[in-house]
């Protein structure tokens, strides 16, 4: 089936009443959690994971994807009108978006953010659709050594891109790997790190881990940290940008689409990284850089486009290689696995409905989001007036309910609370939890492929990975990523000495 035919097939799946409802629900929930500060898409997906088990798999994934990109749309509203980022990816939108709103230009800021998100999201979905089949076909030739090399490369990128410190990020990834080891070993049936607890024999569940670290941890931190919310600026009557706004935003939107997609594809390339990089690029290439920070529309259009483009870009490695590039996608991978679907190169062959249904739903979702966000902005702003003091106990209730409901297990409740405490401490000390969750999900695949590759090698030598071109390239890239800080440090040392001698 050619790409166009497959896409038509995808639309026929995405446009069934149940799936259309799933897109709408996802887009709506996503916008709501995007608008509300303190509740991100990872926590929401973790909360909804137990519920999605009872749903049809394609509908569940369509809804989860909708929540993810919907959150990027909603996040900008809070940034622009209240100067508090609704989402991590909307942090930079506060800088110029809020300044525009203070000058009475909240309408064009919100409008351009919505249109930019729409364009970035749509361009990125087209790219996902065109690239994924080729990548999946290539990945079909991957054996265990190549898969291990690819996962290893992904790990090195995750450690570098998601934290303030590379070693800290890698350490969190190691803790995630260790948590993934707990339970009975699949191959040899040995109990590992279960401390005599029957509950741990099946391993630690992703739901308690994700709900604890991202849901409960976040809520506990917000209870403590809560700041008085600033005045919410008046919702503007019209969101339509002027011709001049469009002229100034055209190139930032184009650059944001490409940059965002590129970053989204890289492991660790979170939408927040894309928006930050887009802001830096726009500021550098701007004709009037002094306007940045004072209400430059380029500072809203570029980053808001980039974060949506990155969101869709992340689906390429997820759907074709089975590698999630951030914690939200790790939960989507978990949802697929719970339904017995293994994402990766075989997804397109074995479950084309899942692949093309989700892709087609993203086109529909982007249209729904612009319809939801532009005329209904006033409704979403009203959500900001609901006191967080009412929302947080209710979210805690749903976390505990979700943790228990999955297996009717008190053990899961205990695990959720312990991981909640861990998430709270990580948040309080500014430690990024994403590498932990990614490593937890990818760890068993990494172990499995390493074991298979070593057995395949007959010699057990790590040099075996360099005897095959794809794995050699990927391992070399991973080593380069790992050694980059050392090379940079050495270079600075040499340069510093050179300067001092001169």
């Amino acid at each position: 089936m050619d790409t166009l035919g497959a896409l038509v097939h995808g639309f026929s799946i995405a446009m069934t009443p149940g799936n259309l409802l799933a897109v709408l629900l996802g887009a709506f929930i996503g916008t709501v959690i995007g608008v509300l500060p303190g509740l991100g898409p990872t926590a929401t997906l973790a909360l909804l994971l137990p519920i999605t088990i009872g749903m049809d798999m394609v509908s569940a994934l369509i809804m989860m994807a909708g929540i993810y990109y919907g959150a990027m749309y909603g996040g900008s509203t809070t940034s622009i009108l209240v100067n508090i980022p609704g989402e991590a990816a909307s942090v930079v939108t506060c800088i110029d978006g809020y300044q525009m709103a203070r000058k009475g230009r909240a309408g064009p800021a919100l409008g351009m953010s919505a249109f930019g998100s729409f364009i970035g999201g749509t361009v990125s979905v087209v790219a996902v659709m065109l690239i994924s089949p080729f990548l999946a076909e290539t990945a079909l030739k991957f054996g265990a050594p190549e898969m291990f090399a690819l996962l290893f490369f992904a790990f090195t990128c995750i450690g570098g891109l998601t934290g303030k410190s590379r070693a800290q990020g890698l350490l969190m990834a190691c803790i995630g790997l260790l948590l993934g080891v707990v339970g009975t070993d699949d191959i040899q049936g040995v109990d590992r790190f279960i401390f005599g607890q029957l509950y741990l024999q099946d391993g630690i569940g992703l739901v308690p881990l994700a709900m604890g670290v991202f849901g409960l941890g976040e809520i506990l931190y917000n209870i403590e940290k809560r700041e008085e919310q600033g005045a919410i600026l008046e919702t503007p009557k019209s969101l339509l940008p002027t011709r001049e706004d469009w002229r100034r935003s055209a190139m930032p939107i184009a650059r944001g689409s490409l940059l965002g997609f590129g970053i989204g594809v890289i492991p660790g390339g979170m939408p927040a990284v894309a928006s930050l990089m887009s802001y830096a690029v726009e500021r550098r290439v701007a004709k009037r850089p002094d306007e940045f920070g004072k209400g430059a529309i380029e500072g809203v259009a570029g980053p808001e486009t980039a974060n949506n483009a990155a969101t869709a870009g992340g689906f390429v490695p997820l759907l074709t290689l089975g590698i999630p590039t951030n914690s939200v996608l790790a939960l989507m991978l978990a949802a697929m696995m719970l339904h017995g679907v293994t994402p990766g190169p075989l997804l397109l062959l074995k479950w084309p409905d899942v692949f093309w249904g989700v892709i087609a739903s993203m086109y529909i979702g982007n249209i729904m989001l612009i319809i939801l966000n532009v005329p209904m902005i006033g409704l979403f702003v009203q959500l900001l007036r609901v006191p967080y003091g009412i929302l947080s106990p209710l979210i805690i209730m749903f976390i505990m309910l979700g943790a228990y409901a999955l297996k009717s297990s008190v053990g899961d409740l205990v695990a959720t609370i312990l991981f909640g405490l861990m998430g709270y401490l990580m948040k309080r000390f500014g430690i990024e939890p994403a590498p932990l969750i990614l490593a937890f999900v990818l760890g068993p695949m990494l172990e499995n492929n390493l074991s298979k590759a070593l057995i395949m090698s007959h010699t057990g030598s790590p040099l075996f990975f360099f005897s095959r071109p794809i794995s050699a390239t990927l391992i070399s890239l991973a080593i380069l990523v790992l050694l980059y800080p050392l090379v940079r440090w050495g270079w600075r040392l040499v340069m510093g000495r050179g300067t001092a001698e001169a």
Binding site: S165, A167, L171, C174, E224, M400, Y404, S451, I455, G460
Partner: protein, 149 residues
Amino acid sequence: MNLDRILGVGALLLAVPVGVASWGFGVGTSKSPGAGFWPLVIAVVMFGLGVSLILRPSPGLVKAGGSSRWGRSSLSLVTLAFYVVALEPLGYLATTALMLVVQFRWVEGRSWRSSLGIALLASLVSLVLFRVLLKVSLPTGVIPLPRGW
């Protein structure tokens, strides 16, 4: 003390027992890895990262955000511990309502009236939604529920 150094010490303290335990699982050989091979690899990497964090910590990663509201998050955690202990003997409705009352009244500082009202309403609505409509198995406990719930 720098946060990276604290994490580094923590990594070393964790890596050593993990490494020892991995040995006990059976490391096997590199041609035929045993159940302890992978955790041993993790322990070795973790040890290396711990040493790296202690020797070369990143600057500016020192402090935790101090806060005057930490007592509220601690109280919130205590109510969650109560939830774990009481859920099966007291049942979903009573435990959830009690937990929510404490959360609204003392953690969030809302009035008695709104705390009680929202707590009761939320626990009842969630019970109907999950137990009655979604057929999720939730413990009944001490409060008798109508037939069919």
